[in-house]
Amino acid sequence: MEEIYLDNAATTKPYPEVVEKMKIALTTTYGNPSSLHRMGIEAEKMIKEARKNIASKLDVSDKEVYFTSGGTESNNLAIKGAVNSLKRHGKRLITSSIEHPSVLNLFKRLESEGYDVKYLQVDNEGIIDLEELKAYLNDETILVSIMGVNNETGSIQPLAEIGELLSDYDNLYFHVDGVQSFGKVDIPLSKIGIDLYSISAHKIHGSKGTGALYIKRGTRIDNLISGSKQESGIRPGTENVPGIAGFGQAVELLPSQDDKEKMYRLKELLVTRILDEIEESYLNGPKIHSGAAHIANISFAGVKGEVLIHTLERDNIYLSTGAACSSKQDTPSYVLEAMKVKPKLIEGAIRFSFAPSTTEEEVNYTVDKLKDAVKMLRKIMQR
């Protein structure tokens, strides 16, 4: 079997079309988009085209899409920018306890600066409690930041309901970390009333180092960085033309409805086979169809997730225990903790994440190997 890469929530393989587009930008249309000459205009055109593609997928205007260096920067820009711009209206900020570190660590930082940050609890499917949100909302609240899809479990938040609750408040921005939801789950930004939406290219088969932030018209946020006038002055710095052009191309190849249905079928196959065939295995987070199609998180009692993924790597199967950027730290997943998964089971958790190209054969092979590996590791543990 060739390598089976089921770590698509960590990063994805850029599509050949994306790489081709990037090569053009690297070698042919290499001008600086700010330059007035033809070389500059050609580069500018590539950016324009990418911006148009992305805006059209998000169903927003081109002028509302701003490029950044990735999901982390988009989140930092949205949150810091909103807080700095609205701070005279209040100090309350609301987020959830299962956000990505690029949101959570920033809020911790803002808390230490004196902001009043509320971290919403989640239920065992990883969903926030709207009543709790309602209770925290007040006239002092200037920002609510809730992710669309959780990167470890695929939980989908009730963004429409949240938007509805927020619509009663002024001087409050609604930010959504859409890095895992973009292209996977349809989120009608304007209808819901989302003011800021972060996305990242490398999660949708674009290249690492490029992201974007949707900033709804009329939403005023402060810059994160200062400099020249690129991205209408919101995000200075010579544009990463290859990355942006690749992003635009990747967006044209986002999963179709058929792809999504196929991913759900594969997820169902994987989860049901594992739960049926491996004793003491548990699905963490949302039920198969209430979560996103591309992520499943499963715990195996009596084994360490980390050891399990290393074992499977020998069979050319690539998985992870959870978020890549914290996978080096030995701390247990705060996401699973927040979902009240038992500590023993958190240790034995693995994240499976699919791409549209994932096949049934790969899933079956993975489950077969997983069965052997879990059996073997449990035996060793018992000795």
Binding site: D7, S34, S35, H37, T72, S226, N240, P242, A324
Partner: protein, 388 residues
């Protein structure tokens, strides 16, 4: 018609060798460098190698002093705001020059307006040179940062960074230099320069756009700019731009090996271009220092015409040039750099920057020398203020 690209100060094409080493990291080794598995580990190893190459090019003792960023602008912001935030309890005075890139200038203005800092903008002489004695005189009890660029992007003047570094060190003030135009073009050694922080950007020396680095000398206090994951030893969160980083590493390696050869070639082309223009076009003035100058930089004020109209004419001839910095092009304000050097508004408006790069040839220079005088003559013929 062969196109001539002479705007390498704005950006450069990615070198084929650089693209070649990047390719596998788009396709086979596409993993997240933080991932445990082999995709991740291979990516991580590649980053380590690239970091070593960057460190080597700028003479850093330890490659852990290099933090990758999304480019020069971010590196400048990170350095300046980072030091300001880390040291604001100690003092709120910053020294910079009046000819910095907007990435530095606007960051300083931000700190002034929004964070209550006091910033001294040092003047420059008619060659665009900062006087180290002015730096020394400007240092006060509460000075926490000196930030002076290594080489100017518009006029190419190379600043006396060694001297300024000594002054900063003696005074115990953190010293940052924006070396975006210098790195890859002239020798840069962080220890010889006594800098604590140094910004560089890949796309100025044949690495891709969207990747840069900040050198942070061990022990220098800098608050971080992006919060999130633990990447870059907790100093810059976000999934690493592996292909970009690998490309930057390769470009550094090439720059180090070819430095002498490249700069000798560029200096020869540059000086031929300068003397050619001076001989063939009347009423021109070379901006910037004649010798303490980036090997690829040519900048002239051409009297009685608008810089932008020259650019348009040249563009029609397939020649890509600029009037100053790319980032301010399209704006009607004259260059803050030229004004700081004492040029009048009127003269500053008629500037033309030609910046040579690795791929320029003698033919390119000849082409310019063939086309430019005619363009100038034509434009002047239409000018109401020029009467031969």
């Amino acid at each position: 018609m062969k196109r001539v690209y002479m705007d390498n100060g704005a950006t450069t094409p990615t070198a084929p060798e650089v693209l070649e080493v990047m390719k596998p990291y788009f396709t086979d080794v596409f993993g997240n460098a933080s991932s445990f598995h082999s995709f991740g580990r291979e990516a991580r190893n590649a980053i380590t190698e690239a970091r070593d190459s960057v460190a080597k090019l700028i003479g850093a003792d330890d490659s852990r002093e290099i933090v990758f960023t999304s480019g020069g602008t971010e590196a400048d912001n990170y350095a300046i705001k980072g030091v300001a935030e880390a040291l604001e309890k100690k003092g709120k005075h910053i020294i910079t020059s009046s000819i910095e890139h907007h990435a530095v200038l606007h960051t300083c203005q931000y700190l002034e307006k929004k964070k209550g800092f006091e910033v001294t903008y040092l003047p420059v002489d008619e060659d665009g040179m900062v006087n180290p004695a002015d730096v020394k005189d400007a240092i006060k009890e509460d000075t926490i940062l000196i930030t002076i660029m290594m080489a100017n992007n518009e006029v190419g003047t190379i600043q006396p960074i060694v001297k300024i570094g000594e002054i900063a060190k003696e005074a115990g003030v953190t010293f940052h230099t924006d070396a975006v135009q210098a790195v890859g073009s002239i020798p840069v050694d962080v220890n010889q320069l006594n800098v604590d922080l140094l910004s560089l950007s890949g796309h100025k020396f044949n690495a891709p756009k969207g990747i840069g680095a900040l050198y942070i000398r061990k022990g220098t206090k800098v608050a971080k700019y992006l919060h999130g994951g633990a990447q870059e030893r907790n100093r810059r969160a976000t999934t690493e731009n592996v292909p970009g980083i690998v490309g930057l590493g390769k470009a550094c390696e090439i720059a180090l090996n070819a430095m002498d050869e490249k700069s000798a070639k560029l200096i020869a082309l540059r000086d031929r271009l300068i003397s050619g223009i001076e001989e063939q076009v009347d009423y021109v003035k070379l901006n910037g220092h004649r010798t303490e100058r980036l090997p690829g930089n040519v900048n002239f004020s051409i009297r009685y015409i608008e810089g932008e109209s020259i650019l348009m004419k040249l563009d029609l001839e397939g020649i890509a040039a600029s009037s100053g910095s790319a980032c301010t092009s399209g704006s009607l304000d004259p260059s803050h750099v030229l004004l700081a050097m004492g040029l009048t508004h009127e003269v500053a408006h008629g500037s033309l920057r030609l910046t040579l790069g690795n791929y320029n040839t003698e033919e390119d220079v000849d082409r310019i020398l063939d086309v430019l005088p005619k363009v100038v003559t034509d434009l002047r013929a239409m000018s109401p203020i020029y009467n031969g």
